[in-house]
């Protein structure tokens, strides 16, 4: 998640981009890379959502994960193309997001009416090439488009996610402070809930607390903590309690690190 220091302001684009991706952490990373490039993406989590979003909105580009639960990216692309034809709408470029695509995968994506491929995980340089090809309008400065400068990458609180959060709040410093303070409060409350649920063996309460901590951490850019909570939530939902206590320990350690990083972050925000 490091940023190339050589290209800070030059690569700025304009356009409405829909990213179809089922994993929240991948969506956060995508947003973290795109916001500094001037793109404020919208998301869908599966093929059916992508079709609805495309029907309702005007996009300039769709990035479509190919492997998703439910309707696949290929099937969604076929249906989007059918609707575009039936309703006489403009053909929106669709780029497939794939990890380890085989030649057969490529052929199926092309036959479905997709226009290109991007390897997962997403890389900034590849996104710049993609945006250059399909969005054009490159070379404006960040002041003109509202793009934000790239973040200093941080390991505890993901710098790119935090910058994206700030930008997504529309520059409202007071609101950002309130959100982070609320996160700070939940860093006390939710680990205690998890630990209490562990002691009383209340699986449902643990799933709930882990789920909340996962979502809150994701919003604030604490991606490692979010991933740990996601693992706990998934294991508890599956009834797999074997690793719970060691995961809870890891979560508690990471919570300590996030608390420190958050205090520093809050100190840097004007009151």
């Amino acid at each position: 998640m490091s940023t190339d220091p050589k290209s800070t302001m030059a690569d700025v684009f304009e356009g409405r981009v829909l990213v179809v991706e089922d994993e929240e952490v991948n969506r956060l990373v995508a947003r973290g890379i795109m916001m500094p490039l001037g793109i404020d993406p919208e998301f869908a989590t599966n093929g059916a959502e992508a079709i609805e979003k495309t029907d309702a909105g005007d996009y300039d580009l769709i990035l479509m994960d190919v492997q998703m639960p439910g309707m696949s990216g290929v099937e969604a692309a076929i249906q989007i193309r059918e609707r575009e034809r039936a309703e006489g709408r403009n053909r929106i470029p669709i780029a497939a997001l794939t990890a380890n695509a085989t030649e057969g995968d490529r052929v199926r994506c092309m036959e479905a009416g997709m226009d290109g491929f991007m390897a997962k995980p997403l890389m900034r340089s590849v996104l710049i090439d993609t945006f250059t090809r399909w969005l054009g309008a490159q070379g404006t400065t960040s002041e003109q488009t509202g793009a934000v400068p790239p973040a200093q990458a941080g390991s505890i609180l993901d710098g790119e996610s935090l910058v994206a959060l700030k930008a997504s709040m529309g520059g409202g410093v007071a609101s950002l402070r309130l959100v982070l303070e609320s996160f700070q409060e939940s860093l006390v409350r939710l680990p205690a809930d998890i630990s209490n649920a562990g002691q009383s063996g209340d699986v449902e309460a643990m799933v709930r607390a882990a789920h909340s901590l996962k979502s809150n951490s994701a919003v604030a850019g604490a991606l490692d903590l979010s991933a740990l909570c996601a693992r706990l939530e998934t294991k508890m939902r599956a009834g797999d309690t074997a690793m719970a206590s060691s995961l809870i320990l890891e979560i508690e350690k990471e919570v300590g690190r996030v608390k420190l990083a958050l205090t520093t972050e809050l100190d840097s925000i004007p009151k």
């Binding site: 599966n46 059918e82 529309g170 409202g172 609101s175 959100v179 909340s212 994701a218």
Partner: protein, 159 residues
């Protein structure tokens, strides 16, 4: 639609997680809503809607304990006692269970937002929701299925 259009409007935020309510409230304030109400679950939201508050739009989390987003929308749309059972609803979701959003659409929502979302994403959804009827079920349905027997609610009649 600029900021002043929202000044006289009231939004209701329904989310069990305090941090998400803070986030949504901050974004709605910046969009320019004159009044923002909060509820921590579907039951509290229904009580507010039942209390003759004039609410112009509801932003509701999908996954909440007891009365979740789906149950909330279902109960809201079926109610004949609520102040306005056809108030526009935007669902917030972070999940990819396909049935969820389709079920919400079937019940009658005006849009959905996938996490993470920005102020611009939220504002676009709100403008669209205030401007159009609920998502048309037929548009989401796979081709060749017969929906003639399914009742599609027409929220065009609202104003």
């Amino acid at each position: 639609m600029n900021k002043s259009n929202f000044e006289t409007m009231t939004a209701l935020v329904v989310d069990d997680e305090p941090m998400m309510r803070v986030l949504l409230k901050g974004l709605l304030q910046e969009i320019g809503f004159g009044k923002i109400m909060e509820a921590e679950d579907g039951a509290a939201a229904l009580a507010l809607l039942d209390d003759s508050h004039h609410i112009d739009i509801v932003i509701c989390d999908l996954e909440m304990p007891i009365i979740g987003g789906l149950e909330f929308v279902g109960m809201l749309r079926k109610s004949d006692t609520l102040y306005d059972s056809r108030v526009p609803v935007i669902i917030v979701t972070g999940h990819s269970e396909q049935s969820n959003i389709q079920e919400a659409v079937r019940l009658g929502i005006h849009g959905f937002l996938v996490k993470p979302f920005s102020r611009t994403n939220l504002q676009n959804q709100i403008v669209r929701a205030l401007d159009r009827p609920a998502i048309d079920l037929k548009k989401l349905a796979p081709k060749k299925r017969d929906f003639t027997e399914v009742e599609v609610l027409d929220f065009n009649q609202k104003k």
